[in-house]
Amino acid sequence: MDEIAFPGRARRSDMRRRFLPVLPALTLVVMLGPVIAGLYGTVLPAFGHLPAAGLSGPTLDPWRALFDWPGIGRAVALSVTVGMGATVTALTLVMLLTAGWSGTRAFKALERLLSPLLSVPHAAAAFGLAFLIAPSGWIARATSPWLTGWDRPPDLLIVQDGWGLSMMAGLIIKEVPFLLLMTLAALGQSDASRAALVSQSLGYGRVTGWLKAVFPRVYRQIRLPVYVTLAYAMSVVDVALILGPNTPAPLSVQIVRWMSDPEIAARLVGAAGALLQLGLVVAALLVWWMGERVVARLGCLWVESGARGRLDRPVAAVGLGGGALSAAAVLLGLAVLTVWSFAAYWGFPDVLPDGLTFANWERHLRGVVAAATDTVLIASPVVAVAVVLTIGCLEAEYRHGLTLSQRGMWLLYLPLLIPQVAFLPGFQIFLLNMGADTGHLPVMVAHLVFVLPYVFLSLADPFRAWDARVGTVAAALGASPNRVLWGVRLPMLLRPVLTAMAVGIAVSVGQYLPTLLIGGGRVATLTTEAVALSSGGDRRAIGVFGLIQTAAALVPFALALAIPAIVWRNRKGLRHG
């Protein structure tokens, strides 16, 4: 097709040429606009300024009230210890696992589990874990009374323990697969296998050699995802509601409580708390950053010492054991959710219910269908917009050389680094002041903030790794840039594009706080329903909703694998994008 023969088309592509360079800026606005609006809406009330309610600041009263709250010390401590503990543990496990086992059959097996593990929403994984480790959980049931001697559950504080250990565990089992995925992507870009080979040929143990030669390069690549993990773990709400302590609760949960208190003064305290949470996360990131220097310095000394590593085997075993344990916790958790969803009466210490029944599913079917509909209605347009913006940005980068600098990467990660509780309540106030009604559209806008970065991160590498020579050949054959994109590049990238969509859907399905706060309660997705049910303690209902919530995130991943295999069944070279 010759463009000159079709003036209309030429004009269109002209427009696109002008439109395309604008896309990166538009993407940033879509992604960062709500964050900035939200922070603005948080800062003013935190200093007592809420003109709509007849309050004008600035005053430090909200801060005084915040620090007067008797639980503040422990709530802050919990936020820090749980966040740091979960991140350090998850990162250590992933590094040891990769160091000791990458390339082995055991590692391949874990790799295959990665997509399903990743797509299990945090809330569902937390429910599953709670049903496993509670004193009346599956583990206690399986070992009672023959091993433990318990014929009634022991009075032990396991779930909701004051140290937040079970909450930490709930975060770790979800962060391990996330960091492992990021590490796998980084391995390919850091010439890891050759470095490992050289170090091993120099007599270094597998783990020691990897830690000395490969880890520094890999860590540089996964640094931002590690920061995201830290920020998330410090400020998570849904996992804290399910597994976290409640005397007092972690700071994030308390902020949400203040924000929903009928007393208007409490909302100011909540805004101050939100800023405190933000400050905590920033401080923790700084501490982490300094820790990086310390580790780097110590690491250099260790490298220079030339030690070949004598503890390799036990250390590698810890890595594999931890990785396998966290995978098993998620999968067994899903299994116990499934059993509960079909359970008739199920007393302690029976390993299985008295009977299986469809009654629970029948009872909740209508609710599940309604919530699933809302979930899909929100996720689909959000993911579509995210994918279009992402491809637009990447194509603009390809055609016009608008590459993201290191600073640009920070912008991309910003919505994931700023705690949700710090800006979502402010964004809610902002939307209200703008006169935007609650409902699906604002929720979609809020979801997009979190979906976009993940879609971008998921698609960027395969998109950039595409062999540009194919494009050159196509152009030489007379194809316009658009035709190269639609006719050559995207079909070849079918699998990564579908995977990015699946990632986006999983992220959207898992969103709790944005749906709850911005939806004003009118938007009920599988996640908000499941977490709301958790307060009622009906395990059969939680089982039903948790499973469907997991399926909503998992099925797109399965499709992302299946569709390319079917479409390209006779085009082997295209199957792996």
Binding site: A53, P70, P262, A344, G520, R522
Partner: protein
């Protein structure tokens, strides 16, 4: 002409806002086609199913679409209305009806956030048991028609009859808990059932609980509540998990009984235990008891925010909730097991027969067995007690 056009733009809004609750025909006419967002606690699956049924029925009879907005906390709804008032959203807020508790009702009524009076103008009000049930005051605050009752609640203790027997006073429960540590707990205040437990303790340990009917004052608060704190100081170390963790809500205690983690819990709905047994959530050995001096009781109400855009639809739903049809279904232990607000004796024969034919369930006490209903204290007590509880026990260690 121009004036007419301006008038026309105002008229529909005015008509919407000013339908007289007493003009039932006009109400139902305006209600048809409206969507009512009912904000109600969403943690109980039996309640959720009941609300779905209500939605079907009002849609059939009145063409009103009812959507259940499931809350984790009623206060969420109050916040929402408040935020809308601040933002100037006075005509069509997100909430059309709230299942509201006494403290939130008092707060919203005081701040003029409620529509009304409407409740006593509704057609089904004629059957409501105004004399026998506390439907005209809510936590001692006069209702004045600003909310409509739809269920009666009374504190009952759920116990596993295989492990314990009924007890007659809070003091007896304390002795039992000391002898059997870890077998009792209550929902964490400010959950409404959790604060109800605190009030129940106070009402039971005070020689004369009449003082609680007046607002708490700085002068008498410490003295009056001293026995409560003394009681809790003794009780807390003997609670489930040593009082370091509490279940978030009342229904969250059912699985604890089913797992045999605890033997005694508390419920605000005399029929809830029977309903939970029917759903496999509780073992069949669970029964209920009340205290010798009686237990606290109150009515559940629905209120309509001042800025609802579907007030007529909400009134239709509120009226349907008070209908014999809905009331007999709510009292069925297989459905909800809630007490009725109606005076059954005053009902037409067919409806009365339906109530009399109900099997209240194996664990439900009869109205006679439920005994004396103790009045709810003034909300000022509850607010202060809940705050103090958080200070003393809510941040343990």
């Amino acid at each position: 002409m121009r004036h007419l056009a301006i008038l026309a733009t105002f008229l529909p809004g005015m008509a919407l806002a000013q339908t007289d609750p007493a003009d039932w025909e006009a109400v139902t006419e305006a209600a048809e086609g409206q969507t009512v967002f009912w904000n109600a606690w969403g943690g109980s699956t039996t309640t959720n199913s009941f609300i779905l049924w209500v939605a079907e029925r009002v849609n059939e009879d009145y063409g009103v679409t009812l959507e259940h907005v499931k809350l984790t906390d009623t206060a969420d709804a109050v916040t929402r209305v408040l935020a809308e008032k601040q933002a100037g959203e006075d005509d069509d807020g997100a909430i059309d009806m709230i299942w509201i508790n006494g403290a939130n009702f008092a707060a919203m009524k005081e701040q003029d956030l409620l529509f009304g009076p409407f409740a006593e103008q509704l057609p089904n009000w004629q059957y409501v048991d105004v004399d026998g049930k506390t439907v005209q005051t809510d936590f001692t605050v006069p209702v004045d028609g600003y909310e409509a009752p739809w269920a009666m609640a009374q504190v009952v203790f759920d116990y596993d009859s295989e492990d314990v027997s009924p007890m007659g006073s809070m003091q007896e429960i304390l002795e039992w808990s000391k002898a059997n540590p870890g077998r009792f707990t209550y929902p964490q205040p400010p959950d409404f059932l959790g604060t109800t437990v605190l009030k129940q303790i106070l009402v039971d340990v005070l020689d004369d609980p009449a003082v609680l009917q007046e607002p708490a004052t700085d002068a008498n608060y410490d003295d009056v509540t001293a026995p409560l704190w003394a009681y809790l100081d003794e009780l807390t170390p003997t609670l489930w998990r040593g009082g370091e963790a509490y279940p978030p809500t009342g229904t969250a205690m059912f699985p604890l009984i089913a797992d045999d983690e605890i033997d005694l819990s508390i419920s605000f709905s005399p029929g809830a235990a029977s309903a939970a047994i029917a759903n496999n959530e509780l073992p069949p050995s669970v029964r209920t008891f009340v205290l010798d001096k009686g237990t606290i009781g109150n009515a559940s109400f629905v209120a309509i925010p001042y800025n609802s855009g579907s007030k007529e639809g909400a009134m239709v739903v509120a009226n349907f909730l008070m209908s014999p049809e809905a009331q007999v279904r709510a009292q069925d232990p297989d459905v909800l097991g809630y007490g009725t607000v109606l005076d059954v004796a005053s009902l037409p024969d067919g409806d009365r027969a339906a109530f009399e034919a109900l099997d209240l369930g194996i664990a439900t006490l009869s109205p006679e067995e439920l005994g004396t209903v103790q009045a709810e204290p003034h909300p000022s007590w509850m607010t202060r007690i809940a705050d103090d509880w958080a200070r003393r026990y809510g941040v343990s260690q």
